[in-house]
């Protein structure tokens, strides 16, 4: 039985009551307890810094050359918090409710409530660290709207919110490094866990500069290794984001929950050709001001700005009048696919829709002209003023669009299309963020806990920082309090030796395949299978085919892979090979999970389960559970169910109309 260890009592008091009763570790004992933190994104950097501040001995790992470069740096639009600074009716309850509803009733009430509860502290903490959030003229913090909600609760720093938050956490981390509380291991990749007597006791890491394997002991290991969207090859994730750390944990018994729950983001720059190595997001914040449309007639080849108003179909505003362009991501993505599949797509590939700022530019221009008492009939001047406002809000995104496409989005509408962006699934964790393996925790995108079947915009940053700054510092103490008598285990212990040997054998095996096909080609092939058959729309037949195709591809991989260079040098191709090998296994599990879940919910759309209007149709009677998969032998998994019980919220069919 899966025990989520949710504290008893009323929802709003659970976390307070937990904090009042969990075990504590006294300062002297903290100094002799060692914690390994994998990852330096928002979750990892905030966790490592906070645990270091508490006095634990922390070792922090990342595979980039500096902790500041973790994938979180790329987050654009913002971070949510229930501050109600706008006086527009926001509250902890409303943020909790929006998140549960946005997730299509597939997440756990207790965890989500806590997330909403600590959200306000995150903003305070970041401001104290010097994160330069956007501000109003009066000096107060500014907010914007994000999809799926009707209040303004998103804090931001232009289109670089992730960067500013991560720099804040990174600086806190470097301060702990300087104080000697954290040891930093950059360009190191965790390649296995070490388990002794049922508890996690350390890791095997590879020094990516020299290729050497190294052993590290920890009383606990905290995985903050990010999401696995790159299983699709093309995604908005950084090139090196991968599942390896989580997958090794899975192979050591940690359950993988809801692996098929993938978020496809509606507004990304479309694919241009086979050379494409990644996709670039255009932040959801753009939907505050941008209007999405396609031409009313098929195969319209005119430029966007030459198509008259009455020949445009603003299909989101038409289908979802209540939320309009700000419907949640899953809904917006499917609607774009529907229009393109029906032949209304734009651009050379016809796999794109317009995101248009002309109306917003005029609106802001008029407002500015009014403010400065300028004439309202000077069209040119109004457009100039409006462009300035847009530039201040989204300048870096517009620049990025222009650099990539060569088109000026201040003049012509952007062309956008959905792309893989985020993975709601991840390692199963309980209320304390511990996996089902003793002493092994998962934080941030690496766990599955808070977003159900669809994540709302600006909530991943909130979750990563909530987990790292405000949850793990309490919950890990509850476990470590019982570890104070256990001295560090020397890494000469046979369990370390054995783990290192296995890692080393696997690397040798990969190197010795000496086939003809590069890692990149295999990754592309895997991505294509996943996108075609386990992407925006899924059906039983496609998923069954995908499983067979992935198995065949995996076999070919282990027979025909070609890795240049050697093991004991800086060798990015070898690093990538290990990661793609793990993706090949994960892909199969994702398809299996998608096949099992024959309902549609959130980002998981099973074609067999839709309403007459083409909306996702949930099946609460059969699927109101978290699917937590146990690894058996690489071809078979055993499913455990965590039944979701809603005490506070009444699940209804989600409607944004």
């Amino acid at each position: 039985m899966l025990d989520a260890k949710i504290p008893s009592g009323p929802l709003a008091e659970k976390w307070t009551s937990y904090k009042g009763h969990c075990k504590l570790v006294n300062p002297a004992n903290k100094r002799s307890l060692e914690i390994i933190v994998i990852g330096t994104g928002l979750a990892g950097a905030s966790a490592a810094a906070s645990l270091g501040e508490l006095g634990y001995k922390v070792k922090s790992f990342c595979f980039q050359d500096s902790p500041r470069r973790a994938h979180s740096i790329a987050a654009q639009g913002g971070i949510n918090a229930a501050k109600n600074y706008q006086n527009d009716g926001d509250s902890v309850y409303r943020l909790f409710y929006d998140t549960i509803k946005g997730g299509d009733y597939r997440s756990r009430e207790g965890n989500v409530y806590r997330l909403a509860e600590v959200s306000a502290n995150i903003i305070d903490q970041c401001v104290a660290q010097g994160v330069p959030f956007a501000r109003e003229y009066g000096g107060m913090l500014s907010n914007r709207s994000f999809g799926g909600v009707q209040v303004q609760r998103t804090f931001y720093a232009a289109g670089q919110t992730g960067q500013q938050l991560l720099i804040g956490a990174y600086q806190a981390l470097e301060r702990q490094v300087a104080l000697g509380n954290v040891e930093m291991y950059a360009r190191h990749e965790m390649l296995d866990l070490v388990k002794i007597d049922g508890k996690v006791r350390g890791i095997i890491a590879r020094n990516l500069m020299t290729g050497k394997l190294e052993r590290y002991f920890g009383h606990a290991v905290v995985l903050c290794s990010g999401g696995y969207g790159n299983v699709f090859y093309l995604s908005t994730n950084a090139m090196h984001s991968n599942v390896t750390a989580a997958w090794k944990a899975h192979k050591h018994g940690a359950y993988f929950a809801n692996p098929c729950f993938t978020q496809i983001h509606p507004t990304c720059i479309p694919v241009t050709g086979d050379h494409q190595s990644k996709l670039t997001l255009m932040s959801e914040s753009l939907r505050n001001d941008g209007r999405i449309w396609v031409p009313k007639s098929k195969d319209d080849t005119r430029k966007g700005n030459q198509i008259p108003e009455e020949e445009r179909d603003y299909y989101l505003e038409r289908r979802y009048p209540a939320f309009g362009n700000l419907v949640p991501r899953d809904v917006a993505s499917r609607a774009a696919k529907e229009r393109c599949d029906a032949g209304f797509g734009v651009g050379t590939s016809k796999q794109a829709v317009f995101l248009d700022f002309a109306a917003a530019i005029k609106r802001y221009g008029k407002k500015e002209a009014g403010k400065h008492k300028l004439p309202l009939d000077n069209e040119e001047e109004i457009i100039r003023l409006g462009k300035e406002v847009i530039k201040e809000k989204y300048g870096n995104l517009f620049d990025m669009y222009e650099k990539i496409t060569g088109e000026n989005p201040y003049q012509v509408p952007m062309r956008i299309y959905p792309a893989v962006h985020y993975t709601m699934g991840g390692l199963w964790v309980d209320y304390e963020l511990m996996t089902n393996v003793q002493g092994l925790y998962a934080l941030g995108e690496a766990n599955y806990s808070d977003h159900g079947a669809n994540r709302l915009g600006a909530s991943a940053l909130m979750q990563g920082l909530a987990d790292g700054y405000f949850v793990i510092p309490y919950t890990i103490g509850n476990y470590l309090a019982d570890e104070i008598r256990n001295a560090p285990i020397p890494t000469s212990h046979p369990a370390f030796e054995e783990a290192e040997k296995q890692v080393s054998d696997r690397i040798e095996t990969l190197m010795n395949i000496k086939g003809n096909t590069s890692v990149e080609s295999f990754h592309k092939k895997l991505g294509k299978i996943m996108w075609d058959k386990c992407g925006m729309a899924r059906n039983a037949q496609g998923l069954q085919e995908a499983i067979l195709e992935i198995r065949a591809l995996r076999e070919e991989f282990w027979k025909d892979l070609k890795i240049p260079g050697s093991i004991t040098e800086f060798n990015p191709e070898l690093d990538k090979a290990g990661r793609v090998a793990d993706f090949m296994e994960l892909g199969e599990l994702m398809c299996l999970d998608a096949l099992m879940r024959s309902e549609s919910c959130g980002g998981h759309f099973r074609e067999e389960s839709q309403t007459s209007e083409g909306e996702a149709l949930r099946n609460d009677a059969e699927f109101m559970f978290v699917a937590a998969w146990e690894y058996e032998n690489g071809r078979e998994w055993r499913m455990h169910k965590e039944v979701l019980e809603y005490e506070e919220v009444k699940p209804t069919q989600r409607s944004y109309k």
């Binding site: 810094a49 906070s50 501040e53 050359d65 500096s66 902790p67 500041r68 470069r69 994938h71 740096i73 790329a74 600074y85 305070d124 903490q125 970041c126 401001v127 104290a128 660290q129 010097g130 330069p132 501000r135 109003e136 000096g139 107060m140 913090l141 720093a157 232009a158 992730g162 960067q163 500013q164 600086q171 806190a172 470097e174 301060r175 490094v177 300087a178 500069m209 950084a238 090139m239 090196h240 050709g273 050379h275 190595s277 990644k278 670039t280 997001l281 620049d399 650099k403 060569g406 088109e407 700054y469 405000f470 590069s518 990149e520 240049p564 260079g565 040098e569 800086f570 990015p572 191709e573």
Partner: protein
Amino acid sequence: MEHYTMNLKLKIWRQANRDAKGAFRNYEVSGISSEMSFLEMIDVLNEKLIENGDDPVAFDHDCREGICGMCSMYINGRPHGPWEGTTTCQLHMRAFHDGDTIVIEPWRANSFPVIKDLVVDRSAFDRIIQAGGYISVNTGNAVDGNAIPIPKDKADASFAAAACIGCGACVAACKNSSAMLFLSAKVTHLALLPQGIPEHDSRVKDMVERMDKEGFGACSNTTACESVCPKEIKMTNIAYLNKEYLLATLNNK
């Protein structure tokens, strides 16, 4: 936008490791689309090298969105290549034409030793931050975010400095390999905010001292750094730093 394809000659610095002697090697790539990013062009080359049993070119990259600061190529004599305010990964091939020769080197600075080919070790930057590039506030110590009003122009100016991605192009462009633009961006980011004031004397002194220890050179105001910075960090930050530094030394005689 008209797209085109091109054939290119590449002259790339190859160096097996930190201690090896490096040299340029010549390569050719064909059928490169103007829609590709610069790194996608290198991907094409590397796939070809792997196919032929050669060693692919090692280079740093991750986000490919101009924000992580990992990519770092010295292209045709300029860090990050010909486009202003652009990282290597955001540079696109429409900047080049059929038949062009492109010369690609790593960042060259004593404080950034080469790890392999175009990959260098920039950990000195992290150590400069460790010396004081933060506000000393433990988790849980914060007051309400709006309890500290910050004038919008101050917040905006602080943000503009905080936009530095730590790529090191400023160092690579400078004939003295000075890290002043990077350092001043951090000092300015923090010193402009009320939260940063209590530590501003010690911060600037400790960070400058660390920078010197790491072997970065002195700033002689050539402005090379500013002109190549992909995030358009301004030289005015260096003036601000100098002022802060002077005040700090006067205060703590």
